[in-house]
């Protein structure tokens, strides 16, 4: 690992974040809509309007607002939400864990199953098992998430009543800590429907990627050799084939995690899951600039970081790819 390369990549990351933060700052202010719209009411007076503008810091010139925002950002201060009148960081910390749980849980299952079935599909290429499996994968991958979500709700929640339909806990009950939440069966009941919906969507990528990589690998001479040596089917499949074919899947996973953190808006809405996607949508519609900026920035930072991880992973896992521009 080349340290200069690492430093340069970190420098790039910071630059990208600054660009993102700047774009976010201006995009929300140029967007039609007004944060004061949420307060319009017959008893809303002109003095109140001015007072709110002052409170929100919107009475200052745009460039001044920008420098204040940047200065705060450098100190790790994301500002105060217009809508909730509370610090953006603390609002996000309320819901970020839920988004991460849903994402990690779904990712692990989707990738484990995806890789497994990818291997099997490649091995049994041309069989009925593969044909049906492949069609099913394409269907789940292209089905709209809200539709899958509603169908799952209709069946498992409203028809059979096996699983709860929304939220992270039963009405009026609460977990004593995050640990308590993660170790209680109750939480997984609430998690299962949103997670299944997400898994349905996520599983396609690792599965198809694994299958095509595996087909390449299975044609290689060393696999032929292994077959001739009379090694067991599963040993060849997993030890010789899958290990070599899994590389691109792992990097796809790193990037995929980055993208999924912000992309759960639909699932979070369908299942009333208290996560950052819902927060983001509300913040944007209410023109709550600080909250929307903060949430987007966290998501962007996460994505940029996961891209960085993917790059590093590639270098680590495949020595053929040398870090630092292939000199």
């Amino acid at each position: 690992m080349n340290w200069m390369y690492l430093l340069r990549r970190i420098g790039q990351m910071i630059l990208t974040l600054w660009v993102v933060a700047t774009i976010l700052f201006f995009i929300f202010r140029l967007m039609p809509g007004n944060p004061l719209a949420a307060y319009i009411d017959p008893t809303f007076t002109a003095e109140q309007q001015q007072e709110l503008m002052r409170q929100f810091g919107l009475d200052k010139p745009l460039w001044e607002q920008y420098f204040i925002y940047m200065a705060n950002l450098l100190q790790g201060e994301l500002g105060q939400s217009f809508f909730y009148k509370d610090s953006v960081t603390s609002i996000m910390m309320n819901v970020l864990p839920n988004t991460i749980y849903l994402m990690v849980f779904s990712f692990v299952i989707a990738y484990v199953l995806g890789i497994l079935f990818g291997v099997l599909f490649a091995w049994y290429r041309g069989s009925k098992f593969e044909t049906i499996g492949l069609i099913a994968t394409l269907i789940t991958r292209s089905a709209p998430q809200f539709w899958v979500g509603m169908v799952l709700l209709a069946i498992f929640s409203f028809h059979f009543g096996w699983l709860p339909s929304g939220g992270v806990s039963a009405a009026g009950s609460q977990y004593n800590s995050e640990w308590d939440k993660l170790t209680s069966l109750e939480f997984y009941k609430f998690l299962s429907l949103p997670a299944f919906t997400l898994i349905f969507y996520l599983i396609g990528l690792p599965l198809l990627l694994m299958r095509s990589n595996m087909l390449d690998v299975l044609g290689d001479t060393y696999v032929e050799m292994a077959k001739m040596r009379g090694l067991s089917k599963y040993r060849i499949m997993f030890k010789y084939g899958a290990r070599n074919a899994a590389l691109p899947v792992l990097t796809a996973m790193a990037v995929g995690i980055g993208y999924t953190i912000g992309g759960n808006v639909i699932i979070e809405t369908v299942f009333s899951w208290p996560g950052i996607g819902r927060l983001l949508v509300n913040a944007v519609t209410a023109s709550d600039y600080p909250l929307a900026q903060g949430a987007f920035l966290v998501i962007a930072a996460f994505m940029i970081f996961m891209n960085f991880v993917a790059d590093l992973l590639y270098g680590l896992l495949d020595p053929k790819i040398s870090a630092g521009g292939g000199k």
Binding site: P32, F83, A171, G172, F271
Partner: protein
């Protein structure tokens, strides 16, 4: 080559247009009327600019959008070129509110709130010319006669005389065609009969079954002692000094007591007070109930009440300022008695002030407000960890984007019959409908989906009951009186004639609404003017009104302005 050819034709076209328009200006001094106001050789300046109706998109507000389409079609039939322009509410409100000469017509709505049971807010704040520049009179309605009525009803303490003024104001709004009312929607509230004793649900006038009285007086019919209801909106804050979202107001109503409350008939009645007496037109004496305590155990005293009503005057509680505007002085006589001195007679004082302000504990909020004096923030941004009031429910927990849990205050003089009140935040309406069926919630407090579907589901399920009431709030289209053609009364009257409320009620609302003709809902019998007359004759009457006012049509049926 191509470019030059194109330039030639363009130049020729411009030349011809100039010549033709010059001819018509010279020759046609007066339009030639063929028959029934049909004009040939029209002066081009007489054509109307296309009319644009603002509406939220169909996905967000199907009723508003569909109504806008019906109105558009009627205007087109009348010969006025019209289009519907959709945009999200935030953007629409931004234009209507802050760019007051940039829009012609817009869909809008007023929601039901307990203090709106008194007609003052709708009568005064919506239409008084004071609000033309930056208040709620965004239509630019300016009629001194109306202003006088609105002011008079505000200071008239004799409610019978006042009702007469309110009725005159309603007729004037109709005569001047200020708002184009469509409907009062139905409020459909569904509850589970296995959980609630049917006879104990209160249907409050104009507010429906989802109200304070249901939450405190409903009795359990089985073992379930939690009221579990839904809301689609996040809770913004649980703060007695901050008027935030509507879900927040359901919560603050239950945690904090008020001197008076709006009863199920829509009239203010003494609540935390033993009695409220008008000594004269500007003096009100209040005696508090004995033995009330805050949730932290401290007694509720006259000093707390005085503090609660004076706090808005410190500048730290801006949203409540309008509700204490005419309170000049509050005199505390002893622990339980106090006297309000008003600066002028104020007819809506009981509803808009005594039944509106929350009684907060002085010992908690006084130091907070003092601290806030030196900070740029005000009381609205202060969130207590555990909000303390004296109301029938105590705060238990707020789980962000998930739920708020309140516990019954058994010490209260009107202690609830249920143990807990839990509001679940459910943004997915279809899921909320499923939840009331499978028992995850037992009170469907808000439902913005298809009312017909809801009705069917309730009928199918044996254990559900739907309470349908007429909303105090209403839907309407506002027109900008600063701009053509809406600055012309005849055009507004013609618009009244072509808006078919029966059709809108049946087609758009599938019958789950009541046609509206005033800011006062028909259920508020005391205030409602039953005899409001507006043109309803459709296209034919509209054409007559327009003709009489000098409007005309060209040969293609396009509407022309008066000369």
């Amino acid at each position: 080559m191509m470019k030059r050819k194109w330039l030639f034709w363009f130049g020729l076209a411009v030349l011809l247009t100039v010549v033709i328009s010059a001819c018509s200006n010279e020759e046609v001094k007066e339009d030639v009327v063929k028959e029934e106001n049909v004009v040939v050789d029209v002066d081009p300046t007489r054509y109307l600019d296309p009319i644009s109706i603002l509406s939220r998109p169909q996905s967000a507000a199907p009723d508003e959008y569909e109504t806008a389409i019906l109105i558009r079609d009627a205007l087109i039939e009348l010969g006025a070129e019209t289009e519907v322009q959709t945009m999200p509410w935030e953007q629409l409100a931004d234009i209507v509110w802050y760019e007051r000469d940039q829009w012609q017509m817009t869909g809008w709505q007023m929601a039901a709130r307990p203090e709106r049971l008194d007609p003052d807010e709708f009568t005064y704040n919506l239409f008084h010319s004071q609000g033309m520049v930056d208040g709620y009179n965004f239509m630019g309605y300016n009629n001194p006669e109306y202003d006088a009525l609105a002011e008079a009803q505000r200071v008239e303490v004799n409610q019978d005389v006042r009702a007469d003024l309110i009725k005159q104001a309603q007729q004037l709004i109709a005569d001047d065609a200020v708002y184009h009312f469509t409907v009062h929607p139905d409020i459909n509230i569904v509850y589970n009969k296995d959980v609630f004793d049917e006879g104990t649900i209160t249907d409050m006038t104009g507010m429906g079954a989802r109200n304070f009285w249901t939450y405190v007086n409903a009795e359990p019919s089985g073992d379930q002692t939690d009221i579990i209801l839904n809301s689609a909106d996040n809770v913004q804050a649980v703060n007695p000094f901050y008027i935030s979202g509507s879900t927040d107001s359901w919560i603050t109503e239950l945690i904090w007591d008020r001197v008076m409350r709006m009863n199920d008939k829509g009239l203010p009645e003494a609540w935390a007070a033993e009695s409220v007496k008008w000594v004269d037109d500007t003096t009100v004496s209040v005696v508090l109930r004995d033995g009330m305590t805050f949730h932290d155990g401290n007694p509720v005293t006259a000093e707390d009440v005085k503090f609660s009503f004076e706090a808005p005057k410190t500048g730290e509680v801006p949203m409540y300022q309008p509700f204490v505007e005419y309170i000049e002085e509050i005199e505390v006589l002893n622990d339980l008695e106090l006297v309000f001195h008003l600066s002028q007679p104020w007819a809506a004082f009981e509803t808009a002030s005594l039944a509106k302000l929350n009684i907060v504990p002085k010992h908690i909020w006084e130091p907070i407000l003092t601290d806030l004096q030196d900070s740029p923030e005000n009381a609205e941004s202060f969130q207590e960890d555990v909000p303390v009031g004296s109301g029938p429910y105590k705060f238990d927990a707020l789980r962000f984007q998930e739920e708020v849990v309140l516990e019954a205050n058994e010490e209260h003089f009107n202690a609830p019959k249920f143990d807990r009140w839990i509001v679940r935040i459910i943004p997915n309406m279809e899921a909320a409908l499923g939840m009331i069926q499978n028992g995850e919630i037992n009170f469907l407090a808000t439902y913005t989906g298809d009312a017909e579907l809801l009705n069917t589901r309730v009928e199918e399920a044996g254990n559900l009951e739907m309470v349908t009431s007429v909303d105090l709030g209403f839907r309407f289209f506002a027109v900008n009186q600063r701009l053509e053609p809406f600055n012309n009364l005849a055009f507004r009257k013609a618009l009244q004639a072509v808006i078919d409320k029966q059709l809108i009620t049946q087609i758009v609302w599938k019958g789950f609404a009541t046609p509206a003709d005033s800011v006062i809902a028909p259920t508020l019998e005391f205030w409602k003017n039953e005899g409001i007359e507006t043109p309803t004759g459709g296209i034919a009457e509209a054409r007559n009104i327009l003709s009489e006012a000098g409007f005309a049509w060209d040969e293609d049926g396009k509407l022309l302005k008066p000369e």
